[in-house]
């Protein structure tokens, strides 16, 4: 049995582990083939990360494009001994932060609460019966109730299952800051999914 103090450092989910070993080899910043392969393999990951970070559907292509441009410019800084996806997520987080600073996006984000209520009224299925698609929708809606920094920590640590050390490094924050944000993120996230009708299944 995993001790409690280690449990938080153990990936919660086994389905979203680090990228394949082939992705861990050193990336050659001057190799177009490396970048092309990275784009091909990680496009969906970056796309989903941006969704989880609150980028509106209509802007996903623009913002994904910006993330990969940033990745390309920084390929030479990638440490091949570290997992690739948290490194990519760090870029997604930075670009998403810039995106959310724009006033026109704040208007959209302000509508999240109303959207959530509407979604709650329409969402009646018990969680055990939810299809993955519905789960994605609920999670993304609930993430909408968190600050960007809270989202980032919760996504990397709880959704993708990275250790806090990796999470904190990807987001350039202290580990204790990461835990602090995670605690707040979990509380808000849980409250949000409860508000959408997801009840505790076990007595």
């Amino acid at each position: 049995m995993i001790p409690d103090d280690r449990a938080h450092e153990t990936p919660i989910l086994s389905t979203m582990g680090p990228p394949p070993a082939t992705a861990r080899r050193e990336l050659d910043s001057t190799s177009p083939a490396d970048f092309a392969a990275l784009f091909d393999r990680e496009f969906a990951y970056v796309w989903n990360s941006l969704r989880r970070l609150g980028v509106h559907e209509r802007d996903l292509e623009d913002v994904t494009h910006e993330v990969f441009l940033l990745v390309h410019r920084n390929l030479s800084t990638y440490d091949a001994t570290r997992p690739l996806r948290p490194w990519l997520f760090g870029f997604a987080h930075r670009v998403a932060a810039d995106y959310r600073r724009l006033a026109r996006h704040r208007v959209i984000l302000a509508g999240d609460a109303a959207d959530l209520e509407s979604f709650a009224r329409s969402e009646t299925a018990h969680h055990a019966e939810l299809a993955a698609r519905d789960a994605v929708a609920i999670v993304e809606r609930a993430l909408g109730q968190l600050s960007l920094d809270q989202r980032a920590v919760l996504v990397l640590h709880d959704l993708e299952g990275h250790a806090m050390r990796v999470t904190a490094e990807a987001l350039s924050i202290a580990i204790n800051t990461g835990y602090s944000r995670l605690r707040a993120a979990r509380a808000r996230f849980t409250a949000a999914v409860r508000a959408m009708g997801l009840n505790r299944s076990d007595p």
Partner: protein
């Protein structure tokens, strides 16, 4: 705050996260469009690694990137093909690839600009183009191989028009179709037929963006048809022209397969 003070996440919420962990599949067309814009941006980049790399290696550096990307995705089948064609239609990539000079200019790509549409719904018809233009200086058609006869309007039109225009895109689709036909023939063991089609491709599209793939196929086809000396000569040209090619291993494997 430390990890020991962190309460575990509730089991049903954890279950929800598990269900959602796979995310969604992005639309293939969106991937096509982003790739197009990305390559376009890298081709235009005046500064940074893309620009520096281009200065060091010439414009073919990013061209290699596109080719590598397109070749990789073409192996994925129809989706990959749509990827390539979407890129060609939307980004003006081929024009940039063929341009010996710097890109059209610095600056970010405008939002909402070129949006190549996936071409998976398009019917790709094989075009036989034989009466086109000058032979490829580096890769002349193998001696004794007559190109298929027929109209070649696609090839000549394609050179005169930009790839962003419908006729330019159609030209590139025709290029790709001819190459695919050669590949299918080779895979079916009809090396001679593949060589005929590849020769037609050389004649019709001497400056093709698919030249790298075409020449690698040619080496393989020559080996399969027993024309070993020609295969070796063509392989040597390939190595000289595409020293960083992803297809080098394929070419080398073909030469290694020649009986000693």
């Amino acid at each position: 705050m430390s990890k020991t003070e962190l309460a575990p996440i509730e089991s049903d919420v954890l279950r929800l996260l598990e269900l959602a962990s796979g995310g969604v599949d992005p639309p293939a067309a969106a991937k096509n469009r982003v790739s197009t814009r990305l390559v376009d941006s890298l081709l235009r980049a005046p500064l940074g690694q893309a620009g520096e790399a281009r200065q060091k290696r010439g414009p073919s550096g990013t061209a290699d990137a596109w080719r590598a990307l397109s070749m990789r995705t073409r192996r994925l089948g129809p989706v990959g093909l749509a990827f390539v064609l979407g890129g060609v239609v939307g980004g003006g990539v081929a024009t940039a690839l063929r341009s010996p000079g710097p890109g059209p200019g610095p600056g970010p790509v405008a939002r909402g600009a070129p949006t190549g549409r996936a071409a998976s719904d398009d019917r790709v018809e094989e075009t036989r183009a034989a009466s086109a233009s000058e032979p490829d200086a580096d890769f002349p058609a193998p001696a004794g191989e007559a190109a298929p006869t027929g109209p070649s309007t696609t090839a000549s039109t394609q050179r005169r028009t930009g790839p962003g225009s419908p006729s330019g895109a159609a030209g590139l689709r025709a290029e790709q179709a001819l190459l695919d036909a050669a590949r299918r023939a080779l895979a079916a063991g009809r090396a001679d037929e593949a060589l005929v089609r590849l020769a037609a491709h050389v004649k019709a599209y001497p400056g093709s963006v698919f030249a790298e793939e075409r020449e690698a196929l040619s080496v393989n086809a020559l080996v399969q048809s027993g024309r070993y000396e020609e295969a070796r000569a063509r392989a040597a040209l390939f190595v000289r022209r595409f020293p960083r090619s992803m297809l080098l291993s394929s070419v080398e494997a073909a030469i290694d397969a020649i009986p000693r």
